[in-house]
Amino acid sequence: MIIFSTVFKILNKLKGNLILYTVILLAITLFNTTSGNMNHYEATKPDILIVNKDQNNEITKGFVSYLKEQAILKDIDINDQEKVDDALFYRDISYVVYIPENFGDDLVNDKNPTIEYKSNGNEKCIFYPNVN
């Protein structure tokens, strides 16, 4: 009987810990079950950078705003090439799009402008520019 009652005394002493762990367990369980439910489609967007050398053209502006819709633009200094390359390597961004000068005009005049891009080798994200 002594041991029996002592167990409860010990439990009473440790009630703070007991409650804490129970709450954590419940919270995590709750979190997992709620996040599992999905009721709307949401596109998974890659992080990208755009280096635009054709600022004042309506077509290019349209293209850039289209890209902005499809991806998340990261805030990295595009004038510092080393920072951009580092961001690519460490998967901070998935790809960099280089829009050449006169891109919009060339597109209208059938000159087939070339867009250069650098990617980090994550094929799932590379798929985006290719589709676009």
Binding site: A43, K45, F89
Partner: protein
């Protein structure tokens, strides 16, 4: 005397089994574990052909464009194969989706395709993209064809070939495509950084050899040190030859590690072997200098000095990205000064610069910072060791 002490320092260090284990075997064992754990981590980035289902109903049978596109995209011979398609009825598709066999299914209802998915993700987004693209192109072709036919009729020409018109339009659309040029570097494997941090760690562990060699010269550290101190030899020669001896021993360990990483684990270093060797020599010297610095500046027991050395080098290792390369990037990006005074990071970064960059600016900057680190450490150590006198030991 210089050669004599050098020879015996090397001999004594090689006979110290514990040190040799930490210096020679530990980095290799860690490398093997890294290899086992991280070998497949980057394969996840490859776009794999994934399973989808298409509901094979009457509406779908009328959608020639969709049928053709799906056929093309699921063709096993096509190198751009994207999907593996199950043609099933709605009930089966729902079952497949429930069992996670497919990422989603496409249902044609009154012309408009619907996509049904269970959870959001990259595959689902790609599926949505493909469907949008087909829809857009389909509409574009239809509109252009319609316009072309109307033009022909207006001009009084009723004798046209619809097939030819569609073909011409497709040709025109394909020609108008913006060309994309991939200028990515081919060296993009970020897991290599883990192995570079390992080399950096091995360099810093070399510090323990330097530490032991210097302790053997200090009268307050060992009986050997007492005897050496009362001998009529010049202190400078003894210290320098001990330091050089420990440097040579640690270089042997580092060479074994590099050879093992290159040929055993196929770690990529780029092709600039001369620069890699220079970086290893300088990096190892930085480790030895730190060991000498700790041995001469801290006046604590030998175990405590070893502990300090390991603690500092592990802390530097973590900052340089050993426990996740992201940490190195975050520090590089936000507080670069920390990584410029961290020898582990400078060594790691030097290897990274040789691997990833085509220019040498960053490599040279790293080597220079390491040089400064070495000079500062050695300068302080020699100041501390000079004219050391003991009233009582």
């Amino acid at each position: 005397m210089f050669i004599h002490n050098l020879k015996y320092t090397v001999k004594i260090l090689f006979k110290n089994k514990v040190l040799i284990f930490w210096m020679f075997a530990f980095p290799i064992i860690l490398g093997i574990f890294f290899h086992m754990a991280f070998e497949n981590i980057e394969k996840d980035e490859a776009l794999q052909v994934f399973d989808i289902a298409v509901i094979d109903n009457k509406e779908y049978q009328n959608q020639t464009i969709y049928q053709e596109t799906f056929k093309e995209l699921s063709d096993k011979k096509n190198k751009d194969q994207l999907f593996h398609i199950h043609y099933v009825n709605k009930k089966e598709a729902e079952q497949l989706l429930e069992d996670n066999e497919i990422e989603g299914y496409v249902l044609f209802n009154k012309q408009e395709p619907q996509i049904v998915i269970k959870e959001n993700g990259m595959e689902q987004t790609i599926l949505q993209f493909v469907m949008d693209e087909i829809k857009q192109n389909k509409r574009m072709i239809e509109d252009l064809t319609k316009k072309q036919i109307e033009d022909e009729i207006q001009q009084g020409n009723y004798n046209f070939n619809v097939q030819q018109i569609v073909h011409d339009i497709l040709q025109k659309l394909n020609n108008q495509e913006v060309s994309l040029k991939d200028t990515s570097s081919s060296h993009l494997s970020y897991m290599q950084i883990e192995y570079y941090t390992l080399i950096a760690m091995a360099c810093m562990y070399g510090g323990m050899l330097g530490l032991t060699a210097i302790n053997n010269q200090l009268a307050n550290m060992s009986a050997k040190g007492k005897r050496v101190s009362v001998s009529p030899n010049k202190k400078g020669i003894l210290v320098l030859s001990s330091a050089l001896g420990s440097y040579l021993v640690s270089l042997v360990g580092l060479a074994i590690l590099l050879i093992f990483l290159k040929f055993g684990l196929n770690v990529e270093f780029g092709s600039q072997w001369l620069y890699i060797i220079i970086l290893s020599l300088v990096g190892d010297l930085a480790g030895i200098s730190m060991g000498i610095f700790i041995a001469s500046v801290f006046r604590v027991s030998e175990q405590a000095k070893t502990g300090i050395n390991i603690a500092i080098s592990m802390f530097f290792s973590v900052l340089s990205g050993m426990m996740g390369v992201t940490l190195k990037y975050v520090i590089d990006k936000n507080i670069p000064i920390v990584n410029l005074i961290n020898p582990n990071n400078l060594i790691t970064d030097g290897f990274y610069a040789l691997y990833y960059y085509n220019t040498f600016n960053r490599y040279i900057r790293d080597i220079c910072c390491l040089g400064i680190f070495i000079i500062v450490c050695l300068f302080i150590s020699f100041r501390a060791l000079r004219r050391e006198q003991y009233d009582y030991i």
